[in-house]
Structure formats: structure tokens, C-alpha cells
């Protein structure tokens, strides 16, 4: 990594500027990695349920792919959407290779649960611990495509446009997918007799 003043300079740079700089000098790619490693690692764990160690292996492949394909980055997209797309595809490839259904190994945080609960129009009195215990159970049995979209919307806080760019699906499809995911979530809550 370069010296502190350079690091400060890079912090103020946009993703797009860092991409251009990394194409000129590969050392700058380290700043992109630093900026996204935590977010993307969490995302991999959330959608695939891999252990941290396995998720880091996937993440390494993700960053190599990002680097190799830097010239294909289209600045009509947000860099984060593009990076999430590559991450999503790599995570899916990984569990296809292992031929295993992605597991839910989520460390559910309060923000996610609050976002989800408020969107589900609960009565407003939410016991977060109760939710944590039960939401995990519900997410575990949900289809991966529904879980992914819930994670992107309520955990990664992505809007419909960003989800559309990440999953490479039209906005209408994203809306449908999200609506079905919520409906499936509600049904599972009822089935498991969980009171929100």
C-alpha cells in the first residue's frame, strides 16, 4: 500500500476515478479492494452461507475477475452494482460447482431486521431478539432467489434499479421477485407460527 497522503487522496476519489487510475497503475486497485472487501465478503456470506474462510477464497476470485474485466466497466452503471453483480455470479458459480444448495449462515443485524419488519407492516412493537431467532429459520427454508433479493433490498439497502443491475433482470421482474419473496416470507412465518 502507498503512503498515508496517497491513501487520503484515494479516499476522496470516486469509484470511477479509482477504476481509471487502476487501469493506469495496478497499485491503485488495492484501494478499490480496501473499499469493497468488507461489503462484498458479507454479501457472499449472506447469500451463500459459506464460512468466512471459504467466502474469502470466493472474494479473491471476485477481485481478480473485477481486475481482469476492469475495461468492461460501463460508467452508466454504479461501480458498486457492477462489483455486486460479479460477486453474485461468482457466489452462484461457487455453489453450483459444489452442487450444494446455499445455506443461510446469516449474522442478522438489527438494521436488516428493522428494515424487513417495517416493510412487512408489523404492528411496530418488534422484539428484535425474537425476530433474530425466528427470521433466520424462515430465511433458511426460503428459495435462494427470494433470499438473495431480500438480502439485496433489506440488508444491502439497494434500490430497485441497483438490484436490477446486479441481478441483470428488468425492474418489473425485480419488483415481482421482491413481492413474491415477501409473500413467501409471510407464508413461512405463518407456517412456523411466528408472531411479528
Amino acid at each position: 500500500m502507498r503512503n498515508d497522503s496517497l491513501t487520503d487522496l484515494c479516499v476522496s476519489k470516486t469509484d470511477e476515478e479509482l477504476v481509471a487510475m487502476a487501469l493506469e497503475d495496478q497499485d491503485y486497485f488495492a484501494y478499490i479492494v480496501t473499499r469493497y472487501e468488507k461489503k462484498l465478503l458479507s454479501y457472499i456470506i449472506r447469500i451463500s452461507g459459506l464460512s468466512r474462510e471459504d467466502a474469502e477464497d470466493v472474494l479473491q476470485e471476485v477481485f481478480i475477475k473485477i481486475y481482469v474485466n476492469l475495461n468492461s466497466f460501463d460508467d452508466k452503471l454504479k461501480f458498486s452494482s457492477w462489483a455486486y453483480r460479479i460477486t453474485h455470479n461468482e457466489a452462484i458459480n461457487n455453489y453450483r460447482k459444489k452442487k450444494s444448495r446455499p445455506q443461510c449462515a446469516m449474522d442478522l443485524d438489527d438494521e436488516f431486521l428493522n428494515n424487513l419488519a417495517s416493510d412487512m407492516q408489523t404492528d411496530g412493537h418488534i422484539d428484535i431478539q425474537y425476530l433474530k431467532d425466528n427470521v433466520r429459520k424462515v430465511l433458511e427454508v426460503m428459495e435462494p432467489k427470494y433470499r438473495e433479493v431480500l438480502v439485496l433490498r433489506f440488508w444491502e439497502d439497494k434500490d430497485y434499479g441497483e438490484i436490477s443491475d446486479i441481478l441483470k433482470k428488468p425492474m418489473g421482474t425485480v419488483a415481482t421477485l421482491l413481492s413474491r419473496a415477501k409473500s413467501s416470507f409471510r407464508k413461512e412465518i405463518e407456517k412456523q407460527n411466528i408472531k411479528l
Partner: protein, 244 residues
């Protein structure tokens, strides 16, 4: 101690001399996708223009001659090969449009309407300038399997017991008002043309492929009531598979 992930990645990149793929690689890829999409639209349009051409030259008014209901007649005479081609090209165009950089943003219905719309409009234009007929002729000349398919389809018009035969004129005996006709199964027919009508002033000539409506007599004797060219619009055009 937490590991320095960015350092690890950078080391791997340097050690394995990994380089970003060039911009040209992606530009070329994008262009190939657009090119295949455009080619599929053009080929789909050409297939559609051929479908229109067949629609035009089909003997719709003679369906009752083959003793089928109209729906069966339509199913038997539509150019199935070209309809399959059209659908295939539409599918390829759909796939490639979805794989353009921003294609995923388009809703399914929009992509389908855009694809079909483009193919149908371009096909209509090609048909209006006669490209459908020309393309079909060229294809018939160059693709032997296609003539077999076409002959199979034209078999619907080879039903002597129902009053229709097709074939090539081998001999005309004008004084006796007879002609000799070889059908695609190599059966020779003697056709009585003493009391027949001719489609839009069609004039008989040796070697012409014709369609004869009438009544089967004893053996291979056929009394003609109406004679048309095998393919209405083409008149005397030869079908290579039936040529000597």
C-alpha cells in the same frame, strides 16, 4: 491479526502477471452480439417474407378439392420449414438482444414485441420488393434437402381419388386433346384436356409443372376440369427434384 486482503490480491496479480483484458476485447464482444442480433432480425425478416410469398401463392380457393376442412388445409399447406426458421431466428434475436450491455433492462414483452415487430416490418418490406420469392428460389437451387421437404408438402395435391394430381408435362397431344403427366411418384398419367379451364390464361408446354383438378378415370386416366401451374405465381417454374 487481520490479514491485508488488498495486499494479497495485489501480490497475486503481480505474481501471476494478471492483466486487464483490453478495451477492444469488450468492444468486439459487444459488436459481435449486436451483429448476431441484427443478422437474426434480417434472416427472420427474410423467412417472414417467404412465408408471405407462400401465403400469396397458396391455392386457398381450392382447399375443398383436397377434401379437408379449412383448418387442416391451412396446417398442411403453410410453409412449416420457414415458420420454424422464422421462430428460430426470433429466438436467437431475443437471446442476443437480452445479452447486449443493457438488454437485461428490457421487459420480456418489450423484447418480444421489438423483435417480432422488427422482423415483421422488415419482412413485409422484403416481400413487397419480391425478395421472398427470389430468396426461396435461390434456396431451392442450393439446398437439395429443401426440395424434398417442398415435394412432401406438395403431396397434399397428389390425391387422384379426391380429384387432384400434380406432375410434369411429358408430352402434349393437341389433336387428341390429351397430355401425358409424370407425378412425383413416377406414375404416368394420361390427362384428358378436352373440357378443361386454364388458370388465368395459363398455356401448356412440355416440361411445365402443373396441378390438375378433375376426376380419376380407369387406371391412370384422369379427366381434367381445371389446370393450374404447380406454384400459382411461378407458372412454369421447374422444381429440380422433379426434373429429369
Amino acid at each position: 491479526m487481520e490479514k491485508d486482503f488488498s495486499k494479497e490480491i495485489l501480490e497475486k496479480i503481480k505474481k501471476e502477471q494478471i492483466k486487464p483484458k483490453s478495451k477492444w476485447h469488450f468492444i468486439l464482444k459487444d459488436h459481435v452480439v449486436w451483429f448476431v442480433f441484427a443478422a437474426s432480425i434480417v434472416l427472420g425478416a427474410l423467412a417472414f417474407s417467404i412465408i408471405l410469398h407462400f401465403w400469396e401463392i397458396n391455392d386457398w380457393d381450392a382447399y375443398y378439392r383436397v377434401n379437408e376442412n379449412f383448418l387442416t388445409f391451412v396446417l398442411l399447406t403453410i410453409p412449416r420449414f420457414w415458420i420454424v426458421c422464422f421462430l428460430l431466428f426470433a429466438l436467437v434475436a431475443y437471446f442476443y438482444l437480452k445479452h447486449t450491455r443493457e438488454g437485461y433492462r428490457m421487459e420480456f414483452a418489450k423484447v418480444v414485441v421489438l423483435n417480432l415487430g422488427l422482423s415483421l416490418v422488415c419482412g413485409g418490406v422484403l416481400y413487397s420488393v419480391g425478395a421472398g420469392r427470389q430468396a426461396e428460389n435461390e434456396f431451392a437451387k442450393r439446398a437439395p434437402f429443401y426440395n424434398d421437404l417442398r415435394n412432401d408438402q406438395e403431396g397434399i395435391w397428389l390425391r387422384p381419388e379426391q380429384g387432384v394430381i400434380i406432375g410434369k408435362i411429358m408430352r402434349i397431344e393437341a389433336d387428341q386433346e390429351l397430355l401425358e403427366l409424370d407425378d412425383p411418384r413416377q406414375i404416368t398419367w394420361t390427362v384428358d384436356i378436352s373440357d378443361t379451364e386454364y388458370f388465368q390464361g395459363f398455356v401448356l408446354q412440355k416440361g411445365f409443372l402443373i396441378k390438375v383438378f378433375g376426376k380419376q378415370g380407369e387406371g391412370n386416366y384422369f379427366v381434367a376440369q381445371e389446370i393450374r401451374p404447380l406454384l400459382k405465381e411461378h407458372g412454369p417454374r421447374m422444381i429440380p427434384a422433379m426434373e429429369e
